[in-house]
């Protein structure tokens, strides 16, 4: 408290009024803590006993005070990790280590060092106590102010329903305000009703469970219509059985619908990766007629840039990816301009030679990376805001990293379109792409445009590398794995405009994902390649060919 006051007064420019307000708030929160802490402390202290009755009461009090640490303490008690010091009966959460007990103060959850196990006594549990604890924990979560926590608790209880949990749920159903939690509770009660002796009650339970996508519901209904070893049904009533079958069919239908949605989404995210990888290639190829075989290695550079940025700012992994995007653009773009100035510009009009020379560059880049970072894969961390998934319903969830890749691709696409359509550089780039000689005679510095275009395409490759670093292993061969796929996208989409790349990449990604479950990953890829070779028969210049006289040259 004093410390806070000191800190406040030491900050210049804080008006006395606001200081007073801060102090008042601080005092208030202290009052709240003071009124609560003793009872939590008392309940905790009461646990340090060998009497199970007393422990049970203490556990109930712990739940009653709703302290922030209640959960941690009770979990530790359930797992047998709760100890008290014999000397002063102070309670600790402890894990057995080789050196003794690694302690955390149960009151504050702060680390309390390591100590000799002989000075401590484990707070033991018996069956009765564990049972009480479990339902105490469940009802603790069920009364949590956060609806998401309550939902999680209900779903946890659905997995192992017994008479106790059913009665807890039943009691909770009346008080529950949140609709989704109430729905989950009703599902739980209906599952419990499936075992009811009254067939009518079972039938109505089945009816109620019809649309539920909860995996537990599916399991229970499947069990209902299955036969046991002697050929008799688990469910004696034929009416209930047929209702259950109908419900199962419905569930399976919506399940397969959602799994199709999921495949579609996977395909779109894979497609986004392909588009990101191919779009820079499409620019350099479309504008300059140059195949850049080092494109994959530029992506690899982008991925390694992410790694280096994370090494530089290990405290801010969340922001590192965002920082890495412009850095990777500059690094890869710079290398791209170097390649253009050093090699490619001497080879214009000789596309096959360019292909070979840039392939040589790609080998050198790979080896440089191998020499600097070794040939092993480098660990690139995923920021917390990119991990986890968005749960749409029980059968369909979207992982955040895939979602962000799709969004990121769209942003890059829009920015590129804007650059090409609305800026003066874009105008020049398109002019050179359509008719180099004419653009030159109109005063466009084609050499300069070439270098910038190549740099732009390479920079996009670097940015794609940042995205890839979040999805695959970052190693020296990262580029090689994607280069053929991105060429396929360019060949499929054509180089006329970026929409070709977008549609090409997306459809290749989706087709690949839909083929995969039927044909296996490798065969799916082969089939796509064959289909592509056949597609070129119909449209040798891709979906969106570059039109005009210059294109035929």
């Amino acid at each position: 408290m004093k410390l806070l006051g000191c800190m406040m007064s030491s900050i210049p420019g804080v008006r006395p009024g606001s200081l007073l307000l801060v102090l008042l708030l601080a005092a208030l929160s202290h009052c709240v803590a003071a009124s609560e802490a003793p009872s939590f402390e008392q309940a905790l202290g009461a646990l340090a006993t060998s009497n199970f009755k007393q422990k049970e009461r203490a556990a109930g009090e712990l739940v009653g005070v709703r302290h922030a640490n209640t959960r941690a303490v009770l979990d530790a008690l359930l797992e047998g990790n709760l100890y008290y010091r014999k000397a002063d009966k102070r309670v600790f959460i402890a894990v057995t280590q080789e050196a003794g007990l690694e302690l955390r103060d149960a009151l504050t959850l702060q680390s309390a060092g390591t100590a000799d196990a002989a000075d401590f006594s484990k707070i033991t549990t018996n069956n009765q106590l564990r049972k009480t604890l479990r339902s105490a924990l469940a009802s603790f979560d069920l009364t949590d102010p956060d609806a998401q926590v309550r939902l999680g608790a209900v779903n946890e209880m659905l997995r192992s329903l017994d008479a106790d949990s059913v009665s807890i749920l039943r009691a909770r159903e009346r008080d529950e305000k949140d609709e989704s939690v109430r729905q989950a509770i009703r599902t739980g009660l209906a599952i419990a009703d499936l075992n009811h002796e009254d067939a009518a009650r079972r039938l109505s339970a089945v009816e109620q469970l019809k649309g539920s996508l909860n995996p537990e519901v599916f399991n229970r209904l499947t069990a209902l219509v299955s036969t046991s070893d002697d050929g008799s049904y688990t469910e004696p009533d034929a009416k209930v059985r047929s209702a259950a079958r109908a419900a199962l069919a419905g569930i399976e239908n919506s399940r397969s619908f959602y799994s199709m949605l999921e495949t579609l989404f996977f395909g779109l995210s894979l497609g986004s990766v392909l588009v990101l990888a191919a779009i820079g290639l499409a620019i350099t190829f479309g504008v300059m007629g140059v195949i850049n075989m080092a494109h994959g290695e530029l992506m690899m550079l982008g991925a390694y840039t992410t790694y280096v940025v994370q090494l530089i700012m290990p405290q801010h992994i969340g922001a590192s990816v965002l920082v890495a995007i412009p850095v990777a653009f500059v690094v890869a773009g710079g290398v791209g301009v170097l390649i253009e100035r050093g090699v490619v510009r001497f080879l214009y009009g000789r596309p096959l030679e360019t292909l070979l020379a840039t392939f040589g560059v790609s080998l050198v880049l790979q080896q440089i990376v191998r020499d600097i970072f070794t040939a092993n894969n480098r660990p690139v961390e995923t920021p917390s805001w990119m991990s986890g998934s968005l749960q749409i319903n029980e059968a369909f969830s979207i992982t955040y990293n895939r979602l962000y890749v799709v969004l990121f691709m769209l942003i890059v696409f829009v920015i590129l379109q804007w650059v090409l359509k609305k800026t003066s550089l874009g105008l020049k780039v398109r002019a050179v792409a359509q008719n180099r000689a004419m653009a030159k005679s109109m005063g466009v510095r084609t050499e300069w445009v070439d270098a910038l275009t190549f740099g732009l395409g390479s920079g996009i490759a670097g940015v794609a590398g940042v995205a890839l670093s979040q999805l695959t292993n970052v190693g020296p061969n990262l580029g090689q794995a994607y280069i053929i796929d991105s060429f396929m996208v360019v060949v499929f989409g054509g180089v006329g405009n970026l929409w070709g790349t977008l549609i090409g990449g997306m459809s290749l990604g989706v087709v690949n994902q839909f083929l995969e479950p039927h044909a296996g990953a490798v065969l799916a890829k082969i089939l796509v390649l064959i289909a592509l070779i056949l597609f070129i028969q119909r449209r040798p210049r891709g979906l969106f060919p570059q039109l005009g006289r210059a294109a035929e040259g």
């Binding site: 020379a357 040589g360 080998l363 396929m488 070779i533 040798p540």
Partner: protein, 377 residues
């Protein structure tokens, strides 16, 4: 050269070009000297050539044959194939399958019919596409037919729809990439990841005996000489002239009335067959064939051999194949980490500064007089 129809084929093929003469003379020397040095001198003698060296030179010869095949399509027809290693590997697999069947009961599992990896995968009978490979003649026919047919089918699809330039290069690369993925699969029935290896004998002879190695070496030298002469014959023929016209101006050749697709298709298929034969000779000498032979980088490396040597000359391709592979053997043993730098820089330098390769460089360095003489002669 076309002064009389009765002009001797021999002089037509050889007399016209100095490079060809040098190449054939060298090949003959090596072909005679290597077996003698290996067989006539006892081990330990300073003149003795080890079996390893004989096999190494034999391997280079199969590479040279592959390089000639690529030069024929790239240097003379302008088709940059980034998938020729696929044909090479297919020929190799056909030979490998024959060698696998020859193992018989000497395999680890001792099954008379099934190769070890099939027993390992719990297969009960031989897949249909392995039938006949116990006979050498059948395998030899397949070495020619499989790459040839694949090239015909692929080329027919590609050339008919006028896929040219980099587009063609990339779909040839996709072809070899797809084949690589396919051959990596265990259930394809070609040994998956491990490929085919542990060969015991070829047409009844122990595959590791030095006599067999010399025979394989001689076969490679002969194949190289014949392949070279065949390519040279093609390039000098009327059809060969059309092919070169296609390289220089495809549309113009089409407008004159030639069926450009057919010419390209047959040259491409013939080249694939040569690559297949090279692969078939390569496999018994190195003793293994696995899907990594299909790697796109292998095909691109072949192209760089040709580029280093000098494309459009055939003997340049041979020179390039031997030079680059000798450098590779040396580097990967002495300075393995430098090999990729060397290879990469080679790609860049050759394309930038040596568009006609070492052969072109040699031409430039020869005294101008001789060139003038040749022109006036």
């Amino acid at each position: 050269m076309q002064t009389s129809a009765s002009s001797n084929l021999w002089t037509r093929l050889i007399a016209g070009e100095r490079g060809t003469q040098v190449f054939l003379a060298l090949l003959l020397t090596v072909g005679v000297a290597v077996p003698i040095l290996h067989l006539a001198f006892p081990e330990g003698s300073s003149l003795h050539l080890s079996t390893y060296t004989v096999t190494l030179i034999g391997k280079y010869m199969t590479y040279a044959l592959l390089a000639i095949a690529v030069d024929l399509v790239w240097g003379y027809c302008g088709i940059l194939s980034l998938g020729h290693a696929a044909f090479f590997a297919l020929g190799g697999y056909a030979m490998g399958m024959y060698l696998m069947r020859q193992i018989g009961t000497r395999g680890v599992y001792g099954d008379l019919v099934l190769p070890d990896f099939m027993v390992f995968l719990n297969w009960k009978e031989l897949p249909w596409f392995w039938y006949g490979f116990d006979m050498f003649w059948f395998a030899a026919v397949m070495v020619v037919i499989v790459p040839g047919l694949l090239a015909l089918a692929f080329g027919w699809l590609a050339f008919r729809s006028r896929v040219t330039g980099v587009y063609l290069s990339i779909i040839t690369q996709a072809l070899t990439y797809a084949l690589m993925l396919a051959f990596f699969r265990n259930d394809m029935g070609f040994g998956g990841n491990n490929g085919l290896t542990d060969f015991k004998e070829i047409v009844g002879a122990d595959i590791n005996a030095s006599g067999t190695r010399v025979a394989l070496f001689l076969a490679s030298a002969l194949a190289l000489a014949l392949g070279y002469l065949a390519c040279r014959y093609i390039t000098l023929s009327r059809a060969g002239r059309v092919v070169q016209a296609i390289r220089d101006a495809e549309s113009r050749t089409r407008f004159i009335g030639y069926r450009v697709e057919s010419y390209k298709l047959w040259v491409f298929a013939f080249s694939a067959v040569l690559a297949g034969i090279a692969g078939a000779l390569y496999v018994p000498q190195v003793g293994i064939i696995n899907p990594s032979e299909f790697q796109p980088i292998n095909s691109i490396e072949v192209v760089i051999w040709v580029a280093v040597g000098g494309r459009g000359t055939l003997y340049g391709a041979v020179a390039g194949a031997v030079l680059v592979n000798y450098a590779k053997t040396y580097f990967t043993a002495a300075l393995p980490e430098l090999w990729l730098y060397a290879l990469g820089t080679m790609f860049v330098i050759v394309t930038l500064f040596l568009p006609r390769g070492v052969v072109g460089l040699a031409d430039r360095l020869t005294p101008r007089q001789r060139v003038e003489q040749a022109v006036t002669a």
